[in-house]
């Protein structure tokens, strides 16, 4: 159990975080494919994936040169910043302070933009660039998540498998339904991912400055539980204290 729990949490965090990012990238690639054809859509996406692979191959081996405690500390700090950003956004979306991300809306917006460029002689190129940008920018986040959650405990393989599973699942479901995956409970996923990444961040930053957490890796579950309870309490409190902000609240 003690060996399995960090692997499971790494795979789960990587899968869920990547799932959210791949859904967002898929929406744009689909919009490009439906509007301008699959050649620019898949071409742009393929080039972006090649750039991401090159980045991983270039920078990945450098991580092996960094001492593990330094790596845990640096990755922990970055995960605290990254995870708390996701968590803050998910909390604010849960109480209606900021709007939910809507894949249907993103799809319509991208489709409309591509249609406006339809008469441009560079329309296919611009469509491929849109696809490239979406995959590259969402992919950068996936690469960071995989490296961050995987490297601090030398479990990059498991983190990569989680991300790959998310990629395959979104592609299979997306092309089967042939429309944006708007019914994915994106904010709930982001909430869970924010909780997990913040927990990893606190755990590894602590390990980085020498904290000997009780229960070793199992302490990660305890930290997760504390952050989850506190976050749900914040949501509850904000809904009560700022009812005007919570109008039209997303649950």
């Amino acid at each position: 159990m003690n060996d399995l729990s960090p692997i499971l949490s790494i795979v789960t965090a990587s899968f869920l975080a990547s799932f959210v990012e791949v859904v967002e990238a898929f929406t744009i690639v689909l919009a490009v494919g439906v509007t301008r054809g699959w050649r620019p859509a898949l071409g742009g996406a393929a080039v972006a994936l090649a750039v991401l692979a090159a980045l991983v191959l270039a920078f990945g081996p450098l991580l092996a040169l960094v001492p593990i405690t330094v790596l845990q500390f640096v990755v922990g700090v970055l995960l605290i910043l990254f995870g708390m950003r996701w968590l803050r956004k998910a909390i604010l979306r849960s109480v209606g302070v900021i709007a939910l991300h809507d894949e249907e809306q993103a799809f319509s917006k991208e489709t409309a933009a591509l249609q406006r460029q339809a008469n441009d002689r560079r329309a296919d190129y611009l469509a491929a660039v849109a696809s490239f940008k979406a995959v590259l920018l969402e992919g950068v986040e996936v690469v960071f998540i995989v490296i961050a959650v995987g490297s601090a405990h030398a479990q990059t393989l498991y983190a990569s498998l989680g991300a790959l599973a998310a990629f395959v699942l979104v592609i299979l479901v997306g092309f089967a339904v042939h429309r944006p995956l708007a019914r994915v409970p994106e904010n709930a996923l982001k909430f869970v991912v924010g909780l997990m990444l913040t927990s990893f961040g606190v755990f590894w930053t602590g390990e980085g400055f020498g904290a000997d957490w009780p229960g070793k890796d199992l302490a990660l579950l305890g930290i997760f539980a504390i952050i989850a309870v506190a976050s749900f309490a914040i949501v509850r409190w904000l809904r009560g204290a700022y009812p005007a902000a919570a109008e039209g609240v997303a649950r």
């Binding site: 950003r85 803050r88 604010l92 602590g206 902000a245």
Partner: protein, 72 residues
């Protein structure tokens, strides 16, 4: 160049959304680490302080955003 700038912007945006949340989190980490390394604070206490501090910063950041939304 535009693409590099876009990727760099995305990279920064990955960690910084609410600037004061990111700044306070960095200050918290620096203070706790300094206390552990320089003032011999037990590392486990440092970890607990880090956890509590992160939650306090999260509460303050979300409260501020909700308050600003109500005033708007």
């Amino acid at each position: 160049m535009t693409m590099i700038r876009l990727v760099l912007k995305e990279l920064v945006g990955m960690f910084v959304d609410d600037g004061s949340l990111a700044l306070l989190a960095l200050i918290l980490i620096a203070v706790v680490t300094a206390a552990v390394k320089l003032l011999a604070l037990p590392p486990l206490i440092g970890g607990v302080l880090l956890l509590a501090g992160c939650l306090a910063i999260l509460l303050e950041s979300t409260r501020r955003a909700a308050s600003a939304k109500r005033k708007a």
